[in-house]
């Protein structure tokens, strides 16, 4: 019985094990992601977002669709349980809140620029050289997990750490934004398609 407990305990440890990558492993991951990113013109995917707040009984779930067109047009569209979309296009953030439209110029806003960078990265993953973040590489459950910690204090007020999980092909599977309080937002992607023609109408606001 005691043995069983030990084995179980060990298994739990093993499945959560997160080991730091060697320099060569990290370079290999960077190369894979970069190569995939370079040949990616468009991406569509479904996503489920889990908002974790420590004091809640369960995470708040929302579902939606994502569309990306190179180099930097991104649309996050929440479908359930509310209709809400944000579109990043030409340094402007367009919001459609269930029919109520508004927009915001991001050009002059440092925080928004970094946010946009993270968002694009969370889809393509290719931001390892960004000087604004401290980057570290881990192996986890056969996948790769990269942590981006913002250096900028103002930005760190919002996000303490940003984690991207890549599958073996170098595709982004999951993104986790951790707040200074350790509450987090986790976004899990599915049904990913790449390089399918995407009409501009998708990005019209």
């Amino acid at each position: 019985m005691r043995k069983l407990v030990y084995i179980l305990f060990f298994m739990v440890l093993a499945s959560n094990a997160q080991t730091k990558m060697s320099t060569s492993e990290a370079s290999a991951l960077k190369a894979t992601v970069k190569a995939l990113s370079d040949e990616t013109e468009t991406i569509t995917a479904d996503f489920v977002q889990y908002k974790h707040l420590d004091f809640l009984s369960s995470d708040i779930e929302s579902k939606g669709k994502l569309a990306f067109k190179s180099p930097s047009m991104v649309k996050w569209e929440y479908v359930k349980p509310f209709a809400y979309s944000v579109l990043f296009k030409n340094e402007t953030l367009f919001i459609n809140d269930n029919g109520n439209k508004s927009d915001m110029d991001m050009g002059s806003n440092k925080i928004f620029k970094q946010l946009n960078q993270l968002i694009t990265a969370s889809i393509k993953g290719d931001m390892f050289d960004a000087s604004e973040f401290e980057v570290s590489y881990f192996k986890k459950d056969g996948n790769s997990e990269v942590h981006f910690n913002p250096k900028d204090k103002q930005f760190a007020e919002f996000i303490k750490s940003f984690h991207i999980t890549f599958n073996k092909k170098g595709e982004v599977q999951e993104v986790k934004m951790i707040e200074p309080s350790d509450d987090y937002t986790q976004i899990v992607f599915s049904n990913r398609t790449t390089n399918q023609p995407l009409s501009d109408a998708v990005f019209a606001q």
């Binding site: 708040i60 934004m177 707040e179």
Partner: protein, 205 residues
Amino acid sequence: MRYLLSSLLLVLFVSCVSYPKKNGFIASARQPIQNPYFSDASKDYVYKANIEAFGNSLSGIFIVKKLGEDHHRIAFTTEMGNKIFDFTFEEEDFKVNHILKKMDKKILINVLKNDFRVLVKEKPSVENGFRKDSGSIYETQIGNKKYYHFLSEEKLNKVVRVGNGKGKVEFTFSEINDNIAQHIQILHKNIKLKISLKSISYEKL
């Protein structure tokens, strides 16, 4: 001079006539009342929120959790999960767990504190009772402020904070279903502030 004095007295007298009496209610017995809308500690209360403040509009997710007797947590995040503010109400205590630097202003926090305390106060102390037809009004005290709780068919549907005989802030609870107010509005009459909350039932997706 005398004329001025008597008109001053008259003004004083008129403004002393209580708010319910002005609205045709007659005095009745006072009895304990209950605001049941955030009273179930097993529930996570989640609302889609729209805050219109001084010409700006802000939308997001409004979350209320009862953590114990007279103990609630209230948080507001963007749709994408970034926390905007996070408050704790415990008996007479109030704590700011987090607020965006841009919003960290004493006046604003005070307004939000007073408003949200009314939302989560389950058993306000009742000072007086009034009746008209099938409705009742109870004069209550929350914090150091005076309120009127309106009940129709024993259900709380409105709370008004009164100053100088006039409603200054109006809270309305509508589309009530199984002790959940699907729609809540907080409307300030003396400052440009309106908070609209719409319940999100996020049954497991």
